[in-house]
Amino acid sequence: MHRKILAVGIAAAALFLTSCSSSTGEAAPEPAPAASEAAPEPAPAASEPAPAASEEPVSAATMDDSDCAAPANICVGLVTDTGKVDDKSFNQAAWEGTKLAAEELGAFSKYIETTDPKDYANNIAQFAGKSYDVIVTVGFLMGEATIAAAAEYPSVKFIGVDQFQGEPIENLAGLVFDESKAGYAVGYLAGLMTKTNKIGSALGTDTVPPVKLFGEGYKAGALAANPDVKVTLVYHEPNNAFGDPEWGANEARKQLDQGADIIFAAGGATGNGGLIEVAKDPGAGTTVFCIGVDIDQFYTVPQAAKCLLTSAEKKLVSGTQTLVVAAAGGSMTPGNNFGPTGIAPYHDTEGAVPEDVKTKVQEVLAGLEDGTIDTGCPACLDN
């Protein structure tokens, strides 16, 4: 479920992988690129050998995972949470980060999509059984299975995306984010931008902590920017919380009808439905706006580009990439690795945001970064 809260899609990665994937020798099918039009990425040459390799490795282009056992060959595997690698969200972001890392390392990479949470351990074992060097597991639900696997396969490096670590384990790094910071930043922006003093949201279920952190952060940020603003947080029921775009659209429309002029949509396909609905409004981009989540949704939901102010970002792609590279190079830090959060570029709504607002939001981002601004979370989870 959690997978879907994030919406992903880094166009850079998209183009990058279309151009390189054939040479990475992936067996897994390629998700279609989310948005290939805006990819400013200078991709390194696909066949570039891994710089760290001391002896001549099998070229990533020709290798398959039967070669993983050889020390010179680096293999990176990814196990999705119950979801697909083309979910425009969480799993996709982690996979794109993994692929970027594999490119950088000249490594082989492959994924398995989990269909039943009870298969977590087995899916991890598929990779471990073939002597993969680094295994990325996605989503906090897989946290325990990853800890167990880390104990069972001490020679494999594990990266748990969104998995908060208690006691640090030598071969396991958790990539975690403080969603409330990103939520606070976009809330602050919304609080400054609203003309009606009403802002709304269409959110996945509050039983998934990151969603609630986004929501509560958004509210706190908006109130900090503008004490008069009325913030509406509406969560989907837990059942199918991230797969109900019609509800997201309907909820967004209702709040617009009630005078809200900015909608924060956070909840996988449910949230995407909300974004697209706001974009359909005649005032989209001039009087009403939408805010995406997790990754720059300008690329993942191009239909919403018109109204999309920004997205509350967890830098999943770069976070995953950095950790995978570190893990393969032996410089991984066990325990929690806090990934960066922030807000995406304004893109098409650049002109609609006044310069002083941009400046203030920058200050808030800096304050969040250095800790001088408190979002009230994670204590807010008890609300």
Partner: protein, 324 residues
């Protein structure tokens, strides 16, 4: 007896709506619009159920029919770059799925529940298997504001400022009611569902009637699916029907196998959901959202328990027809 309950309930609800409108017009209108939009696919899907069951065929595969149509409609529209073509493809897919059910349940005399279940599983598997990312609709569906009528307070903005699918859904209920109860086709359909033996004796081709009705009902499931992917979400996502096909089945029974009744039930359900969402929005009461969200379902159960026992399904529903 039951009719009286229904009228009373309708009057009570309408009074509340009026009162709410007087107190806060904007909020009332927006909640009602939410409810109507929520009800649109449910109305269409419930009509599928009404036609099929009135003809004596249980259609438990509405969910799958909708999902396949949502899939085909969306990708049809995205690939051809034309919303109308996409919608037609969605409707056509619905009819194919309808014919699929008809072939199994009518021609082959398969168990009807199994035939429907196959559609559901097949739809989940195929749409997931063939899903591809990165497709976008060429345009958004137009809204049709009916001049004059849309200016009426309360009713106007709710009922007469909508997308075409919404009008189609409301019209489908009325048209189907007339067809069922005022035409020869309706008479025959009901006969086929109630007393297929007698219908056969009086010269109605039971098998043919059932086959055609189930197939054409599929077109409405197609419309419901196309509504979800082309109008409501402007996107296709795996499993996006989210159980609405099953809810529609309940709504059909709730509405006593009557198109108008089913539409009223769908609207009631929409209203309950609209209220649930508004209660959350306004933070009037601090209770866990899970409770607010289960409210419509609990209400439905309670209501059914109160007004139960007086609604009967068509007598021959579920039974393949065997010529004597």
């Amino acid at each position: 007896m039951r009719a009286r309950y229904a009228y009373m309930l309708t009057i009570v609800i309408l009074s509340f709506i009026l009162l709410a409108y007087v107190l806060d017009a904007t909020r009332t209108v927006s909640v009602l619009s939410f409810s109507l939009r929520y009800a649109v696919p449910l109305i269409l899907a419930a009509m599928v159920g009404v036609i099929c069951e009135r003809s004596g065929v249980i259609n438990i595969g509405i969910e799958g029919q909708m999902l396949m149509s949502a899939f085909a409609g969306f990708f049809g529209a995205a690939l051809t770059g034309n919303l109308i073509v996409g919608t037609m493809i969605g409707v056509g897919t619905g009819m194919i799925m309808g014919a699929f059910l008809a072939t199994g349940a009518v021609t082959w005399k398969m168990d009807q529940i199994i035939a429907g279940t196959i559609i559901n599983i097949l739809a989940t598997g195929l749409t997931s298997f063939f899903y591809a990312q990165g497709y976008v609709l060429p345009a958004i569906t137009p809204q049709l504001r009916i001049p004059g009528l849309a200016d009426i307070p309360l009713i106007g903005p709710v009922l007469f400022d909508n997308g075409l699918f919404t009008y189609a859904a409301i019209a489908s209920a009325f048209v189907l009611w007339i067809l069922l109860f005022k035409t020869i086709w309706g008479l025959r359909t009901r006969a086929v569902g109630e007393m297929p033996g007698s219908a056969d004796t009086s010269g109605v081709n039971v098998q043919r009637m059932r086959f055609l009705n189930v197939t054409f009902a599929g077109a409405l499931a197609g419309l419901a699916g196309a509504y979800l992917s082309i109008e409501a979400a402007s996107n296709f996502d795996r499993g996006m029907t989210a159980g609405r096909g099953f809810t529609a089945l309940a709504i059909m029974i709730f509405g006593a196998w009557n198109p108008i009744g089913a539409m009223a039930a769908a609207l009631f359900f929409g209203l309950a959901n609209g209220l649930a969402s508004q209660l959350q929005t306004d933070e009037v009461i601090d209770i866990p959202p899970q409770f607010i969200n289960m409210l419509p379902y609990v209400l439905t159960i309670v209501l059914l328990a109160i007004v139960s026992g007086r609604i009967k399904p068509p007598a021959a529903v579920g039974k393949p027809y065997e010529k004597e």
